[in-house]
Amino acid sequence: MVEDSEESLFDAPPMGEQERMVEAILFASAEPVKLAELQARMPHGADPAEALVYLKKRYEGRGVNLVKVGDAYAFRTAADLGFLMRRETVEVRKLSRAAIETLAIVAYHQPVTRAEIEEIRGVAVSRGTIDQLMELEWIRLGRRRMTPGRPVTFVVTEQFLDHFGLESARDLPGLKELRAAGLLDSRPLPGQGAASDEEDEALVGQSELFED
């Protein structure tokens, strides 16, 4: 796994030590830590990816679990113990129905343009809704759509995944069923252009999303 081990002048620490290091780094951070960052902080030749496998196993069923968020890792308390944490609970601003629906649409249809959100909801998206979701850092701008006008698209963020305990956007509940039922297709009104291309694009987008 350690491709550059022959180049290394020093031996990497034993795996047990590497596991301790990853444990310490992840424990110290409230935010998920990317694999690349772990690699950068650990001694040369270390293989945090492997250490993470051991560490994940070690914390299985514990009060604190190792979770994957996008391409980052974090320790989170086990969800079944939430009742003990009333003191730590942070009051989240109640989201409007429009905001919740918009969030779901971005998550399931990403990358999605504002026009597409509006088409799905059948109503204009107010500026405040998008702003609120951006402020929560649950959605962000994706890459522009290569269609006339080059509209901006929205995608969900790593914070979104972290907040809802998702490893990736592909793990959204019911995503497969919705896709199989064709409900994630962008299907324009009959007689208004082809849909198949766009559908492909939406699928590609979803998998590309968390690459960077």
């Binding site: 974090a74 944490m85 064709g182």
Partner: protein
């Protein structure tokens, strides 16, 4: 009263009617026509895939008509949808004309059904999403994150050229000291104008420009030149505005001025 005013065809069962009435009262509660259609479609009590779009269109049009009779103002998009549904309804009822272009009524109806199903699916997905365990509510992050301490080792660098240039500049500072106006000895035209505006009211008869110069501004030649120039420019400006009259007997003779009467 609302009951009597509600003149829908017989086939609408009472509970459905009640639901429809609730809709009328709560028109502000809908997020657009699609939301309204979705709510109306529930009264059909069938899978959205088997929905009768024709019936739905009638329900919607009935709703709009009802709202109008109650003088409830509907937003434009509700009316646009009504117009479209009326068009769709007529297309669904009438046989297609030969040589008809564009999508069939069935395609349009199917698309509407798809839109409703998709909206419902997104609503369900949103509910499921919000029903998930959430960070800060059901599971928690580290309470005392230990911040990375950032140790910045700063090293400074300079080249020999930097050093020599710096020295050269210090040693020859006087040689190319940038030209800076010596503000202390400059009287600006704005200052002079302000000053003259205050004074001119008192000048009924001819007075020389020099007599207007402020105290202390004739001590050094530079201050005198500056204040004289400023005041000269100021009175020219005032003459242009018709506030003063200027005269000069001959070249290099004293410049005199007086207030312009009228």
């Amino acid at each position: 009263m609302a009951d009597e005013a509600w003149d829908q065809p017989e086939r609408i069962p009472p509970e459905e009617r009640l639901a429809a009435e609730a809709l009328i009262v709560d028109v502000d509660g809908f997020e657009g026509p699609l939301d309204l259609l979705l709510t109306l479609s529930r009264t059909q009590k069938v899978d959205l895939r088997k929905i009768s779009v024709l019936q739905l269109a009638e329900q919607y049009l009935g709703f709009v008509e009802k709202a109008r009779s109650l003088r409830i103002e509907l937003a434009a998009d509700y009316l646009v949808m009504a117009a479209w549904l009326a068009f769709l309804k007529s297309r669904l009822l009438l046989p297609p004309e030969p040589g008809d272009e564009g999508p069939s009524a069935e395609d349009l109806a199917a698309h509407l059904a798809f839109q409703l199903e998709r909206l419902q699916a997104m609503r369900d997905a949103a509910a499921r999403l919000m029903g998930r365990d959430q960070l800060g509510r059901d599971f928690f992050a580290r309470g005392v994150p230990e911040d990375l301490t950032h140790h910045r080792n700063v090293t400074y660098t300079a080249t020999l050229l930097d050093l020599m240039r710096a020295y050269a500049q210090i040693r020859t500072k006087d040689e190319f000291r940038p030209f800076v106006l010596d503000r202390e000895h400059v009287y600006t035209m704005e200052q002079a104008l302000d000053r003259m505006r205050g004074l001119i009211g008192f000048v009924g008869d001819w007075a020389t420009l020099v007599s207007f110069l402020p105290d202390g501004w004739d001590v050094t030649p530079m201050a005198r030149r500056s204040s004289l120039a400023a005041h000269f420019a100021a009175v020219l400006e005032m003459a242009k505005r018709g506030q003063v009259v200027l005269r000069q007997g001959e070249t290099f003779a004293p410049i005199e001025l007086r207030r312009k009467d009228g």
